[in-house]
Each structure stands twice: as C-alpha cells, then as structure tokens.
Symmetry: C2
Subunit: 310 residues, 2 copies
C-alpha cells in the first residue's frame, strides 16, 4: 500500500512542497512506494512555485484511510490541522518545525522537528546528513518553502541556519532564487481576486488553548488598505464560520509583507486575551495593531496560548 505524505489543511507552499521533498527523501532511502498529496486546493503562491519549477500539482485528498494504512506528516502535527481520519491510520514519520500539541501515537515513530524557519529547511539538513544529492529542482523546491514561510528571510522565524541554507540553495539552483522568491510572494497576495471566505480560510489553522477552540487565519498583503476596505465583510464571514464550525475565537492577522507589520481582527469570546497577549488595545475601528508581527507561529500562537493559560 502506498504511504501518503502530506502537510496541513489549507496548505501553504511549505506544506505542499515539503511533502514532495520528503517523498524524494524516502525514495532516496529506498522507500519507493510513497506519494505526496495535499489536504486542499493549492493557493496562488504555491501554484506559481510549482509552475516556475515545472512540477506537477499533487493530488488533493480529503481522507486517507480509504486508500492506505500508513502516512507521514510534514509541516504539522496537531490532529485538528491534519486529515479528518488521521486517527484511523498509522503515522510512520513526522518532519516539522512547529510546536507539538494534540498529537499522539500508539507506537514509536520517526519524528524530526527543529525550531527553524521552514520544514524544507529541516529536510535540507536531513538530505545533508545522509549525503543525498540535492538537484537544482530540489533546491528550488526547498527554497520555495523556506521563502514562503520566512517571507524571503525577513520573518523573525528566520534563523542563522535558514540563512546558511538559503545561501547553499542559491549555489545549487539554476534560477535566481531572490527574484523567483519575490515574484512568488507577490503571486500569493492577489487579494482582489479572492472572496471573503477564501481570505479568511486561505491559511487558517485551528488551535486548542485552555480548552477553547481558537481559529487563526493570516493574509499577506502589500497594501493593508485593501484589507481595511473589506473589514466589515471579512468579520461577518468570520462570525458566520465561527458559529458554523464552533470556534470560540477567530483571529485574522493581516500582514504587510513589505513593512513587516500586522493588524488583527477578531470575532468571538476572549478578545481580552488578545489584548493581553499583545499588550495592545483594539482601536475605534476594531483593529488590533501588531507592530513587527509577521509570524503566526512565533509571534502569535505562543503569546496567545500563554494569555489563555494565565
């Protein structure tokens, strides 16, 4: 039975492409019966990257137990971010760079996580450790995930190791990774073409914090005014979705990727926790200024978790 490898729901570029990178790693280990799939439609940024690298789009699946008994996770571990029937299959391996929570297995497994900028960065280290070849295409794939997650090394999630890795990837790739990266990020911020629901769902993840269900979405933009103009419609869509899906709190973080700042919008309970987490007050327009915040993982989730658990 083919082992399926996939990143989180609402897949971003690192989630989609790290599955493909890890599939290649498994093949080089001699484990050839693997397939990288995605838990949802690809976003415009990821499509741009696959197109530029001349790679096929992975198959989208909604369940896995109907076709396999063994899976490998990349770029996530929390079950609520994974495939719906994750509890019905054996998780043989995880490669990730997030916190660990709501994850459990019955048996020992391979687990590799590092607190660095992208799952593709972790995979780069694994290729190096084994002495596996990194082809120009693989270098482009790894760089796509790294560029996406670190906003071209600008996010505070960027570590010295990520900078070293990017420098090595630039030597291997046969395209200009800086120009490619900027175009890829821009391709992902075409907000006008997206519905309100697409914007709030696009990159959203669910977290459990002190027993509450917290949904956190993030939208990257080069112009926050575009978001402000749609604020009423976006928060209405968030209210509807929170009600339908049982989220206690829904936070949307709009990030200006050129100036490295964010603004938060929220619906639901516990908005005081948000103000406490970031030591900011919602202004008269119901906007929470988040100066310097660009990383949900490093600058939003830990702070909000701490505020909920305080």
């Amino acid at each position: 039975m083919t082992t399926l490898i996939f990143g989180h729901q609402n897949p971003d570029t690192d989630a989609v492409i790290s599955a493909m990178t890890f599939a290649e790693y498994q093949r080089q280990l001699g484990n050839t019966d693997v397939e990288a799939v995605a838990l949802g439609e690809l976003n415009d940024e990821t499509k741009f990257a696959l197109d530029a690298l001349k790679l096929d789009t992975p198959r989208v699946v909604n369940t896995v137990a109907n076709e396999t008994d063994t899976v490998m996770l990349v770029d996530h571990n929390e079950f609520q971010q994974s495939v719906a029937d994750i509890k019905d299959v054996t998780i043989a391996a995880v490669v990730d760079h997030h916190r660990i929570a709501n994850f459990t297995t019955a048996a020992p497994l391979f687990y590799r996580a590092e607190p660095i900028g992208s799952t593709n960065s972790v995979l780069f280290n694994m290729f190096k450790e084994r002495g596996f070849e990194i082809t120009p295409t693989l270098a482009g794939m790894m760089a796509s995930g790294l560029i996406s997650d670190t906003l071209l090394l600008k996010s505070p999630t960027t570590t010295d190791r990520d900078r070293e890795i990017f420098a090595e990837l630039k030597q291997i790739a046969d395209i200009d990774l800086e120009a490619f990266g900027l175009n890829m990020l821009k391709a992902g911020t075409n907000l006008a073409a997206k519905t309100d629901k697409e914007l709030i769902d696009g990159d959203a993840k669910s977290f459990e914090m002190a027993g509450k269900s917290v949904r956190i979405g993030q939208v990257n933009t080069v112009d926050l005014d575009e978001i402000y103009a749609r604020q009423a419609e976006l928060t209405q869509a968030m209210t509807d979705e929170a009600k339908a899906d049982g989220y206690d709190l829904f936070l949307l973080v709009a990030t200006d990727i050129l100036n490295s700042n964010s603004v938060g919008f929220a619906v639901g309970s516990d908005q005081d926790k948000l103000e406490a987490a970031f030591n900011q007050k919602f202004d008269g327009n119901q906007r929470l200024n988040l100066p310097g915040v660009v990383s949900r993982k490093k600058q939003v989730v830990p702070q909000l978790t701490a505020a909920f658990e305080a």
Copy 2:
C-alpha cells in the same frame, strides 16, 4: 541558567546514560551550560554500568523549575513520566525512541525520535551525522543504554540499525562489550535484595489509555520461580499502590531475559482488556502467559492501548 537534561522517572540505564550522552552532544555543539540529572535513584544495573565505565553518578532531582527555566528530555516525552513540574519550564529539545503522547509545547522545539532500540542508538546517529567524535568512554555509555533496552540485542525492539551500531561501538570501546553487557544485565536482576515495593516500582511507568490510568511495571529475572514465590506479596503491594496513587489498572510484567518470555500479574479494573490484548487467559494462579514478550514498549503498550480503544 544551566539547562537540565534528564530521562524518565524510575530511571533505567538508557534513561540515565542517554541524558549524559546528550549532555556531551550539547557540549560538542558549543552549548556548554548543561547538566545531566536523574529523576530518581539509579538501579543496580545502571550503577554497575557507571562503575565499570568509571563515571560519576548524576545528581538526583525531584523538581527543576526551582533551578532552571529550560530543560531537555531524553528517553521519554509523556508528561506523567517526567518531572513533576515539567509544565513550568520550557522544553528545548527531546531525543527519544518511544511513542508520543500527552506531550505538548507552546513553542517550536528540537525533537528527534526514531523507532529503534534505545535513545542512545538515536544519539549515536546524531553524533555520526555531525561528525562528532565518539570516544571509547562514550562508546561504552551508548552501548550500556542499547544493551539494557534491547537485552543485549535479543528484544524484538532491536532493529538492524541497532545491530550495526553495536558492531561499530565494539570497534571503538576499549572493553569487551559482550561480556560487560551480560554482567550488567545480571547485576540488574538481583531480585532477592529488593523489597516488594522496589520490584513493582523499579521500572514502572504510567500510561493514559482511553481515559484510564494504567501503570505498567517490568521486572527482569533469570528465574521466574523467584517471582512466583513472591506473587501474593507483590500483588498486594500493587493493590495498595493502585489505591494510593489512583491507578485503574496495574500490570506487572515479569520477564525471563534468558528465555525471552514473560508472565503478567494484574490488579484493578479492565483485566479483560489484558486478556483481549494478548489473546491469553489468566490461569488458575492468576498468571497471564505472555510467550515471546520481552518489550513493554513494543509488545505490551501498543497492544493494550489498542484493546482499551477498541
């Protein structure tokens, strides 16, 4: 502040020595302010190993938040097996070879697990990947953990990789690892010198299975009759402890390390789950034959977890 590194409560040889091995790894990484400690008194097997390798006994601690804000875990991850105040400190790293359960962090971390015979085997791989030197003493330390957890490569948890590692360690060590290993295992089975409470507590770990608290102890012996002669006293001690500490089920696995068989004794609820898990019935002496079972991790915990969740 010194980062403390430790294995699980009721430490066995791999737990104690993998903390020391990982401390050495951290030092080689340049992270010199680390100390390996143990969450309990060392057993006779571990004392034998440290003595033979001319190593100091690590300090025993019961809490950590009073002296540090950062810890690293080896050979375990489940919080109920860790230090009592684990939730009050930041877990910077985990190196392990067990299932993952009841483990959660607020922030990304370094996590390395492999489904192989010992945590020291995983650490051997990490030393090799970095090109760090493995001295004869380090080889003896790594071998101690590997030999203890795999019963000198006889346990079914032993993988081909463990056999390769042991062969490499034999080349490096300046003592005869086969003879050392046999003497070390024998040193750990001096049951006559132990009280009933020491026997049932010695290597016991707690597990959560379908909401129930399950305690599983394991005693190695070269003569099961020694255990049978004390069965009534042992099960009484288990009953007392289950009541005092709130265990729903307490299973003691007595393992004949020469013949690679075990016998189980149990007190508490859900004993039908035990019979279902191993497809065996308790006999007239209230003994559950477990033919071929030597590994709690691979041959007891997953099967019993599955039976509880069925």
